[in-house]
């Protein structure tokens, strides 16, 4: 009886070890590094990825210098980037009217075909008026320009109400919608403008690089369920972490 108890207990632990071992494929560091070395990547493709980032994000001067230093051709005419960047800058500094005029100079159909963008620009204009303390101007603008938009669209109406509520609070920052006064709101609108202009120029509105980084995160997460392999946790060092078994 004594013997059988021991045997049974051993069987148990062997069983659980076996199931642990079979649940995930293990790839050793050496194997993985060999696979990494076998990957074939061309420098010109990486250069294009970087150029795509500079161009899409609007770094005109850097894109031009990169063209000279690396011999990579920009995907679109750099001159169009300057115009786009001026619009973006105007929004980022709160000069919404200037931005709207510049957009229409660039391409009058952009605002026509993007009612949401146009609304967000007007909302930003209202925010700037409130920030500057121009209460009566703000109210006039809200009533004449924004209210009609609110009537056509429930979401717009809610946004208008949030924005107008800022007027009621002495210190806008304490308002529940205080984040509208934040610089980040300007950046959000600026980004929307940037994307709309790029799309109107038949260019992809997002740079490829962040997408690829997300793909790496996603793929590693997927692979984690099936295999133990060296992961990259810190993207700034791209250092491999040994597989945890």
């Amino acid at each position: 009886m004594f013997l059988s108890r021991i045997v049974l207990r051993d069987l148990d632990s062997i069983d659980s070890l076996a199931s642990m071992a079979s649940s995930k494929k293990v790839v050793t560091r050496d194997e993985w590094e060999r696979k990494l070395r076998d990957v074939k990547i061309r420098k010109e493709d990486m250069n294009r990825l970087v150029m795509n980032f500079l161009v899409t994000e609007g770094f005109v001067d850097a894109a031009d210098k990169f063209r000279i230093e690396s011999g990579t051709q920009p995907e679109i005419d750099l001159a169009t980037i300057t115009d786009r960047m001026e619009v973006k800058k105007a929004v980022q500094s709160g000069n919404v009217q200037e931005a709207i005029e510049k957009i229409n100079d660039l391409n009058p159909t952009i605002l026509d075909t993007n009612p949401q963008l146009y609304f967000h620009l007007q909302q930003q204009k209202l925010i700037e008026l409130i920030r500057a303390g121009k209460v009566s101007e703000a109210l006039e603008f809200a009533q004449e320009e924004l209210a009609p938009r609110g009537e056509e669209n429930q979401t717009f109406l809610e946004e208008i109400e949030k924005t107008v509520a800022l007027l009621v609070f002495e210190d806008g920052k304490n308002c529940p919608y205080g984040e509208l006064l934040d610089v980040s709101q300007r950046l959000k609108t600026a980004s929307e403008v940037n994307a709309a202009i790029l799309t109107s120029q038949s260019h992809e509105k997002d740079p490829k690089l962040p997408s690829l980084l997300k793909m790496l995160l996603w793929t590693q997460n997927q692979l984690d369920e099936k295999a133990a392999y060296p992961r990259i946790k810190d993207f700034t060092t791209a250092a491999l972490e040994d597989p945890s078994i």
Binding site: R37, F59, E69, V183, R186, K214, W218, I232
Partner: protein, 467 residues
């Protein structure tokens, strides 16, 4: 020639100091032919190209001599005399979507033509879909058959003059059918194993032609694939990057790594004027700030073809890089000097230089391939138009510049043993990891679907922009 270049990496160079292997650089792909070849190997998968005449039932259908059409011969007495034909090879799996089309040349008496997929052990006298492990879209009733049992209503019937397509979408794991350029429908793929494109005829006079891709398709398959890829991308795009500005950091580290100083300065200036949200959040300086202005100047010299000055500067700033006259770096610089003589059509000087500076490298097996190629340039009246003409172009200069860059980085005491860090930028290491992870992930899906390859990703970028 190419084989020798690969062997270089394996044979240790005698007397080499920190031998950072330049053949591991991303810029080693100077010859477009070599790259095409390497890439083809990666993606090689046999494709269906014609109809299989060996395994057909023979009695019931006849396949044309070009093996791209079939005609019914039997008498349609029952359900086991279908003239069914498979493609010569199964559908490839290592891609997002596989697709082929058939044209109904003649619907004959009863229009009982069909198209679908069947497996290897299919009974070659039944309609696709009438047996398990097969599926078929039938023209006489517009129904879908997916194994034993009655068909389900699926789409329109089809007859003479119609073009019907059948495809496998590995991303969504579905089969789909099209008629005359429009999608009819899709349904879950539950059949495993190699699947053969299959067409069938069953009544007097029925005749079908098949298109495995030699001719343009009726259906906009490229557009369909693009849509599927965008759908997949929107899934991965939902992932949150821990640091929203990581892309800036990675671009910056790329510029630092290769010594693109002017670009870097411009990039930094632009980021300084942007609101704080886009600035780096206090990361430690990457080690590649080491020797930045030197590396930038060295690159400029090499890219303009001034190797003599390159040697002078290296002697001044990093003598240890060229101390060993038999090192890979010295070889690359000397061969580039030689190439520059040829570029400038100073053939006598080229020969003189080869005798003094290149001959010593001939004794080392490691350099055989590169020397032979370079010296062969002398044999051509118009070397730029020869098959080794790529040696005269700027990618070759860039290769040498990147090799010198890596060698200089390796003189940094911090980086001395980190060969990977000298050869690969952070961006490159991340891209390699993405590639390997993507391929590994695919093996868990029975090797079905697309896997990440940077050059393909960029190509599809271009295509979507043009559409």
């Amino acid at each position: 020639m190419i084989a020798n270049q690969e062997a270089e990496a394996a044979v240790p160079v005698p007397g080499a100091v920190t031998a950072v292997d330049p053949m591991r650089l991303a810029s080693r792909w100077r010859s477009p032919e070599e790259w095409e070849r390497a890439v083809k190997e990666l993606e090689a998968e046999p494709l269906p190209s014609e109809l299989n005449t060996f395994n057909s039932s023979g009695l019931f259908a006849v396949v044309s001599t070009d093996k791209l059409s079939v005609r019914y011969l039997g008498s349609h007495n029952h359900g086991h005399d279908v003239g069914v034909v498979q493609a010569d090879r199964p559908a490839p799996t290592r891609r997002a979507v596989y697709y082929f089309e058939m044209g109904v040349k003649n619907a004959g008496f009863k229009g009982q033509t069909s198209i679908g997929f069947t497996n290897e052990s299919f009974k070659m006298r039944r309609q696709p879909g009438w047996e398990s492990n097969s599926c078929g879209y039938h023209g006489d009733d517009g129904k879908l058959y997916r194994g034993q049992g009655p068909g389900e209503s699926f789409g329109p019937k089809f007859t003479t003059g119609d073009t019907i397509g059948a495809g496998i979408n590995y991303l969504s794991q579905e089969f789909f059918f099209t008629k005359n350029g429009s999608l009819v429908g899709a349904f879950a793929k539950d059949i495993k194993g190699p699947l053969y494109p299959t067409i069938a005829v069953h009544s007097h006079g029925e005749e079908l032609t098949v298109n495995f891709g030699k001719e343009p398709f009726c259906f906009d398959i490229e557009g369909y694939i693009l849509e599927e890829k965008m759908r997949q991308q929107s899934v991965t795009d939902k992932v949150k990057l821990e640091e929203p500005n990581i892309s800036h950091w990675i671009v910056r580290s790329y510029l630092l790594h290769y010594g693109y100083q002017d670009t870097l300065n411009s990039f930094d200036m632009a980021n300084a004027t942007e609101p704080p949200a886009t600035c780096q959040n206090g990361h430690r300086e990457p080690p590649e700030t080491y020797g930045l202005s030197h590396r930038k100047l060295l690159r400029q010299l090499i890219m303009s073809g001034d190797i003599d000055s390159t040697f002078k500067r290296l002697e001044e700033w990093y003598p240890q890089v060229i101390k060993d006259e038999k090192s890979v770096i010295c070889f690359l610089l000397h061969s580039q000097r030689f190439i520059e003589y040829i570029r400038d059509e100073q053939l006598e000087d080229a020969v003189k230089y080869a005798r003094t500076s290149l001959a010593s490298f001939l004794t080392h097996k490691a350099f055989e391939g590169l020397i032979e190629d370079s010296v062969a340039l002398l044999a051509y009246e118009k070397p730029a138009e020869s098959s080794i003409g790529y040696l005269l172009d700027s990618p070759q200069r860039e290769f040498v510049a990147d090799a010198v860059n890596a060698a200089v980085l390796s003189t940094n005491p911090v980086m001395k043993d980190d060969h990977e860090g000298c050869l690969y930028s952070c961006l490159e290491r991340l891209l390699r990891q993405l590639t390997v992870c993507s391929f590994e992930q695919r093996t868990f899906n029975n090797n079905q679907g697309d896997a990440f390859l940077l050059h393909k990703e960029l190509r599809s970028c271009e295509r979507s922009r043009c559409s």
